[in-house]
C-alpha cells in the first residue's frame, strides 16, 4: 500500500465552530464526524474548505468494529459515501465496540485484548475495508476500565491488527495520557510496540482532572502532559498530521489558535 499524504496541523470541523475553522490561520486539514454528514448535502462551510483545497477526513464513531457482530455494512456504506463526497484520502473509526446484547452504550468502549477479540476485529476491519473506497485508519480509545484476562498489551494488539489487515493507525495521545492516568498503562511502551510507519495522523484533545479520574472531555484545554506524550511520539517519528479535537464548551478563536500553535511547536521541535 502506498504511503500516506502529508496532512500538517488540523482541527475537527464542527458546525458550532464552522466560521472559526474557516478563518483560523494554519489549518492544514480538518476532520468531520461522518455520522453527522450526508453526502448529498454537505454543509456550506465544508464545501468552502474543500474549494480551498483543505483535505477533509471523515471520522466515524459508530461502526463498532470491535463488536462481536459482523460490521453493519449500511454504516460502512455511509462512511464511504461521505468520503467520496469530500474527496477524502482516508477515513477512520476506533478500536472499540459501541453496541452489544441489544444495547447501545453511547460511547466508545474498549475491547478485551484477547485473541478472540482480535480475530473478530480483524474480520470486521477486513469486511469494512472491502466496502470502503479509501484506506481505513483505526484509533486507540480512552478506557476507564480494564478487561480481565488480557493476552496482549494494547500496543501488541494494534501491531497485530495492522499486520493482519494493513490498516493505518490514528494515535490519540490524549487517550494514551488518559489510560496512563486511569488504568496505569505506559504510553512509551505503547509507542515502542506499534508500527509507527503505519501512522496516519495523531489526535490531540483536552480533558479535565477529577482527582481520581482523568476525563477525556474534548471540552477543556489541552494539558501540557498531553503535549508531552505528543513530544514523545515526535521523538520517534514525524507524524504525517496532528489534529486538535474540540467538541464542546468552545473557547475563543485566539485560544484555539494558540492550542494549534502549541501543537505545531511540538511537531516542529520548536516548543519553548
Amino acid at each position: 500500500m502506498a504511503g500516506i499524504a502529508e496532512l500538517g496541523v488540523g482541527i475537527g470541523w464542527r458546525p458550532e465552530i464552522d466560521l472559526t475553522v474557516e478563518r483560523l490561520p494554519g489549518v492544514d486539514f480538518v476532520e468531520v464526524v461522518a455520522e453527522n454528514l450526508h453526502a448529498g448535502h454537505l454543509p456550506e462551510s465544508v464545501v468552502l474548505l474543500r474549494e480551498r483545497g483543505i483535505p477533509v477526513l471523515p471520522h466515524a464513531v459508530s461502526l463498532s468494529l470491535g463488536g462481536a457482530e459482523p460490521v453493519d455494512l449500511g454504516r460502512v456504506e455511509h462512511l464511504g459515501e461521505v468520503a467520496e463526497a469530500v474527496g477524502a484520502p482516508m477515513v477512520s473509526d476506533h478500536v472499540c465496540f459501541v453496541r452489544a446484547g441489544g444495547l447501545d452504550s453511547g460511547h466508545l468502549m474498549p475491547v478485551p485484548r484477547t485473541r478472540d477479540a482480535l480475530d473478530v476485529l480483524v474480520a470486521n476491519v477486513k469486511l469494512a475495508q472491502r466496502n470502503l473506497p479509501v484506506p481505513l485508519a483505526l484509533e486507540n480509545v480512552a478506557a476507564l476500565l480494564e478487561w480481565p484476562d488480557g493476552e496482549l498489551s494494547e500496543g501488541e494488539f494494534l501491531a497485530e491488527l495492522v499486520e493482519r489487515t494493513d490498516c493505518w493507525l490514528l494515535v490519540d495521545v490524549a487517550n494514551l495520557y488518559a489510560n496512563a492516568r486511569n488504568i496505569g498503562t505506559d504510553p512509551e511502551r505503547f509507542l515502542d510496540e506499534i508500527p509507527l510507519e503505519r501512522l496516519a495522523y495523531v489526535h490531540v484533545a483536552g480533558g479535565v482532572d477529577h482527582g481520581d479520574v482523568y476525563h477525556d472531555t474534548h471540552a477543556h484545554a489541552v494539558l501540557p502532559e498531553v503535549l508531552g506524550v505528543l513530544g514523545e511520539l515526535c521523538s520517534r517519528v514525524t507524524p504525517p498530521g496532528v489534529l486538535l479535537e474540540r467538541d464542546d464548551n468552545y473557547p475563543s478563536d485566539a485560544e484555539i489558535a494558540s492550542e494549534l500553535a502549541a501543537i505545531r511547536a511540538v511537531v516542529t521541535g520548536r516548543q519553548g
Binding site: A100, G101, L103, D104, A123, L144, L145, P148
Partner: protein, 120 residues
C-alpha cells in the same frame, strides 16, 4: 488465516462478554467476573453522565421545566430504559419526556396547549 468457523465461535464468546459488561453498566446487571468494581462504578457514572448531557442538549425545555428534578429523574429513567442498539438520541430524549409525563412529573397536555396557542 483464521477460518470462518473459528471467527464465528470467537464472535459468540465475545458477544457474551460484551453483552454482560453493557448490561452491568447500563441496566444494573450483575458485575461481570474479573472487573474492578470501583472502575465499573466510574464507567457507569461516565456513561450515564454522557447520556444525560445529550438528552439535556436535545430537550432543553424539558430539562428547564424539571429543574433540580431533571438529574434524579433522568437517572431513574435511564436505568429502567437502557438505550437499545439502533435507537437514536432524539428518540431517547422524547422517550424520557414521555416517561416524565406518565409519571406525573410533567404536565400531560403540552401538545394540545401548544396547538391552541399557535392557532391564535
Amino acid at each position: 488465516m483464521i477460518d470462518e468457523n473459528e471467527v464465528s465461535a470467537a464472535r459468540e464468546r465475545l458477544a457474551e462478554k460484551q453483552a454482560e459488561l453493557l448490561h452491568a453498566l447500563l441496566a444494573n446487571g450483575p458485575a461481570p467476573a474479573g472487573f474492578d468494581e470501583q472502575r465499573l462504578g466510574v464507567e457507569k457514572r461516565a456513561l450515564l453522565s454522557k447520556r444525560r448531557g445529550i438528552v439535556r442538549v436535545l430537550g432543553p425545555a424539558v430539562a428547564d421545566e424539571l429543574g433540580d428534578r431533571f438529574r434524579p429523574l433522568f437517572d431513574a429513567y435511564a436505568v429502567e430504559h437502557p438505550r437499545r442498539a439502533g435507537s437514536r438520541a432524539r428518540e431517547d430524549a422524547a422517550a424520557f419526556a414521555e416517561w416524565c409525563r406518565a409519571a406525573g412529573e410533567l404536565p400531560t397536555h403540552r401538545k394540545a396547549r401548544w396547538k391552541f396557542w399557535r392557532s391564535h
